[in-house]
């Protein structure tokens, strides 16, 4: 990166450090923070959407849909989320390949599962074996996002269905009294009001989601944990920048990164709560109203 970095062995300590921290691998390390933030940015809306679907399914009048919603929301209650993270990507991958196999190679006679192998015809492989490396990477990221969305969708469904139930019944009755159809009262009364009840749970969920991102490493994605292990490990003098085992410092850096991420988002959620409570029939909203009127009278 810098001009003087051509021969690191001759450099002074500060310059050596500067060169070391801007080596191409470190740049990749810094980019992987973007990967994590990108995953958060994609997963959060997906999970919210799935969670909304799950919460709506739980309120459905059709029994099988309701059962599905209940099953989906309660699956994360008894089973560790990491089981899903290990299970989902490989299960979804095999399911997709199996379907493609059935469509693309109908005259294939051998069974798909042969002993300890999962064999599909070449045309059904996903991504195709001749695809370039970035397609494989993208496929991996896609599966990771899917696994995260499904698991956190189940968490979000818990939160949202609780919030829907927390909206005062009188509000919905008023909507009915005005002659709104169930659909209208759902979209115009329930959904706008539920967010203030959902926000504490969603803020918690966001923190959990942040804290689950290092698990990307288990899904074989080159994320920050991967790079911290890779870069921190002891390097012998055959490397350009030899150093002893520095993994401790790299993980300390990750710890600080996560601590700042969670504390910043906690503050943002507190602010959002103040905004959302405005004019709501809750304790916080009432307190705001009283504070405002006091100011006016004073």
């Amino acid at each position: 990166m810098f001009q003087f970095c051509t021969d690191p062995a001759l450099l002074s300590d500060t310059r050596w450090m500067l060169c070391y921290l801007t080596s191409p691998k470190h740049i990749a390390f810094y980019y992987s923070f973007g990967t994590v933030l990108g995953l958060l940015a994609i997963t959060a809306p997906c999970a919210l959407l799935l969670g909304f679907g799950g919460a709506v399914a739980m309120r459905s009048r059709i029994a099988p849909v309701r059962w599905f919603g209940r099953g989906y929301t309660s699956m994360v209650r008894g089973i560790p989320d990491i089981v899903f993270f290990l299970f989902m990507p490989i299960a979804v991958d095999q399911a997709i390949e199996w379907v493609r196999h059935k469509i693309k190679c109908p005259d294939w006679v051998d069974p798909v599962r042969q002993g300890n192998d999962f064999v599909v015809c070449d045309a059904a492989k996903l991504p195709l074996s001749n695809a370039s490396a970035w397609v494989h990477d993208l496929h991996g990221v896609f599966l990771a996002v899917l696994a995260f969305s499904i698991v956190f969708g189940a968490f979000a469904a818990n939160v949202l269905s609780g919030a829907m139930n927390a909206v005062p019944r009188a509000q919905m009755e008023t909507a009915e009294a005005y002659g709104m159809t169930p659909r209208q009262s759902f979209w115009r009364i329930l959904v706008p009001q539920m967010w203030v009840y959902a926000l504490p749970g969603l803020s918690n969920l966001w923190q959990i989601l942040i804290k689950a991102t290092p698990l990307l490493f288990l899904l074989g994605i080159t994320d920050i944990v991967y790079w911290a292990r890779e870069l921190g490990g002891a390097k012998t003098s055959t490397f350009t920048y030899p150093h002893p085992d520095w993994r401790l410092y790299y993980f300390l850096f990750l710890l600080v990164f996560y601590l700042s991420l969670t504390s910043v988002s906690e503050r943002l959620f507190k602010r959002a709560m103040v905004k959302l409570s405005h004019g709501q029939a809750t304790m916080a909203g009432e307190a705001q109203r009283k504070a405002d009127t006091n100011q006016v009278t004073a």
Binding site: F87, F155, V159, G162, G201, K211, T213, Y258
Partner: protein, 279 residues
């Protein structure tokens, strides 16, 4: 080979008893159930030990955080912030790397009269190192729960204690503490469930499984990799964990009933397992 034989060979494999080699070919359903079940020993060990050790630590943290003395409050605050604000996964890695850096031969601690050597090698092994991390982690989470409960102890109860002339330790032990526990119990149950779930992370995070003695998920992943079929081992882990969760809810429910036994039967709160997201 009969299934009973398999159970004898692998039933205690996770703690190093029985057959040494893991099954590699002809993996039957019985193998999977037995080995994954034997791995559950570790999950129960980590979860139960961390809970038992963490209980008093978390109470101390809660009292510290609620204290007016800044020398108690600030460390407790920071401890809770660090362990709740960062991922457990990173904590495991960090602890492992820190333990590895300790000198292999032990640290010589020079007390004035006698010199003792503190063994450090066992810290890099999962049974001790990971347990320490889980203990600190659950202490922080439960500490925050107990802190919240401590702050919502009804004023009337404390005034009644004052009126009876109770002060200091007697007041804390006989009024504040039981009330705190009662208020915190549903959340604490939830924390315990998530702690048991978190124990599955141990063998995926730096701490190596010594002689392939791992937990339930470790063996499930082993089978999923060997058979390339995730649809059998992972549902087995899931089933085991659902049973474990139900057992936990039952145990904590019994404790909850005991904590509320002084109330009139109709006013006793039921331990409603509504999902709270504390972790």
């Amino acid at each position: 080979m009969s299934c009973w034989q398999t159970v004898q060979d692998y039933g205690l494999r996770a703690i190093g008893l029985g057959e040494r080699l893991l099954p590699t070919t002809d993996i039957t359903l019985c193998h999977q159930f037995t080995l994954i079940g034997s791995g559950l020993i570790w999950n129960v060990y980590f979860g139960a030990m961390a809970l038992v050790l963490g209980f008093s630590m978390s109470l101390a943290l809660a009292v510290g955080k609620a204290s007016t003395n800044p020398f108690l409050r600030v460390p407790a605050d920071w401890f809770i912030f660090v362990f709740r604000g960062s991922p457990l996964f990173i904590q495991f890695f960090l602890a492992y790397e820190a333990f590895v850096l300790l000198p292999r031969n032990g640290i010589d601690i020079n007390l004035i009269f006698v010199e003792i050597t503190a063994e450090t090698r066992w810290l890099t092994r999962a049974w001790a190192g990971a347990l320490i991390v889980l203990f600190l982690n659950t202490s922080a989470y439960a500490g925050e729960i107990f802190y919240g409960a401590l702050r919502s102890v009804p004023k009337g109860d404390l005034e009644a204690a004052d009126a009876y002339g109770m002060t200091g330790w007697a007041k804390f032990r006989r009024v504040t503490l039981p009330c705190t526990l009662r208020l915190a119990w549903p959340s604490y149950t939830n924390e315990a469930i998530f702690l048991f779930h978190a124990t599955t992370l141990v063998f995926f995070s730096g701490f190596p499984a010594w002689r392939q003695q791992g937990d339930a998920l470790y063996y499930a992943k082993y089978f999923a990799d060997k058979t390339f079929n995730p649809f059998v081992p992972y549902p087995i882990v899931a089933a085991y964990f659902i049973c474990l969760t139900l057992l936990l809810i039952w145990v904590f429910g019994a404790a909850h009933r005991r904590l509320n036994r002084h109330l009139a039967p109709e006013s006793r709160p039921r331990l409603r397992m509504r999902m709270q997201l504390v972790r």
